[in-house]
């Protein structure tokens, strides 16, 4: 194996293993940090897809943003340690779904005649400029709708949190 294949293998393995840790660890903070490794791993895999901008976005948004939010939410809700976090009755159905999804997707993956284009690997190019052209021409409507979505998320978060801030201010227990 070449060096880049070895690194790819390590990245993919780390991503999958930490993905499993996310759903199997008992302490929620530990599983949040396992998710952090998964995000980094997926970002590294994007690099191999000649998606350099996506890799940077993955790090910027997920690692820098969503992860912070998740950790804040964990710290805002008090009971972190010593809580039972698994539905004991749901583990068997969960494993069944896990196996079922994997069997179905594996079959699809193996039996479908994928039309791989020739020379897909090895040659890569910077994508930011192409992405910009696509976003502002062909995908203009989704692009603007995304801003409306962000507006909705912002207003939703402010409405949900503001009540609590106000109630606490009146309670003056800060």
């Amino acid at each position: 194996m070449e060096l880049k294949e070895i690194i790819f293998f390590i990245l993919a393995t780390a991503t999958v293993l930490s993905g499993w840790l996310v759903v199997s660890l008992k302490n929620i903070i530990h599983s949040a940090f396992a998710l952090l490794i998964t995000f980094f791993g997926v970002g590294g895999l994007f690099v191999y897809l000649s998606a350099d901008f996506l890799a940077a976005t993955q790090i910027l948004i997920y690692v820098g943003g969503v992860m912070i939010l998740v950790l804040f939410a964990i710290m805002l809700s008090e009971k972190v340690y010593n809580v039972s976090i698994f539905h004991a009755s749901k583990i068997l159905p969960g494993l069944l779904v896990l196996g079922g999804v994997q069997v179905v997707l594996l079959r699809v993956m193996i039996e479908s005649p994928w039309r791989i284009r020739a020379g897909a690997d090895s040659v890569m190019r910077p994508t930011t400029e192409i992405l910009g052209g696509l976003l502002l021409n062909e995908y203009l409507l989704p692009f603007e709708v995304i801003s409306v979505l962000l507006l909705a998320a912002l207003i939703g978060a402010v409405v949900l949190i503001r009540k609590e801030v106000k109630r606490r201010r009146e309670g003056a227990c800060l």
Binding site: M75, L76, M124, P126, L136, S147, I161, E164, V165, R168
Partner: protein
């Protein structure tokens, strides 16, 4: 467009990660070999020579930090969408400027709303 092979350019990043990991692990390992290990209650308390802790350190953080984090994430996303626009700006010009202004104005409405509702006040 000249086609370049990017992964070679990413090699310094990998090197950086490996060195950082290696440095941390090696330092911890050699430290644990060399240092004496005689813990006591006083030594294990968070501030050995300071105030005695009066509550559990794992308590809830103030809820308003969450709103600040929300603002950060949303405008982080906006910045991500600004990068491709900035790269192609000289090609698209006025048309792109209007599109991006629309995008930013819609988000500014949300910012004004949050400001108006006092989400940014820090009393």
């Amino acid at each position: 467009m000249p086609e370049t092979i990017i992964p070679a350019g990413y090699f310094p990043i990998i090197l950086f990660f490996v060195i950082a990991l290696f440095f941390g692990l090696v330092t911890l390992f050699f430290g644990s070999l060399i240092r004496p290990n005689r813990p006591s209650v006083e030594k294990l308390s968070p501030y050995e020579c300071g105030n005695p802790p009066f509550m559990d350190s794992r308590s809830r953080v103030f809820i308003r930090y969450y709103l600040v984090a929300v603002l950060f994430v949303l405008f982080d996303l906006e910045a991500v969408f600004l990068y491709p626009w900035a790269v192609v700006y000289h090609k698209i010009g006025m048309y792109g400027l209007v599109e991006m202004l629309l995008f930013i104005v819609i988000l500014l409405v949300g910012y004004a709303y949050a400001w108006r509702k006092g989400a940014l006040e820090w009393d």
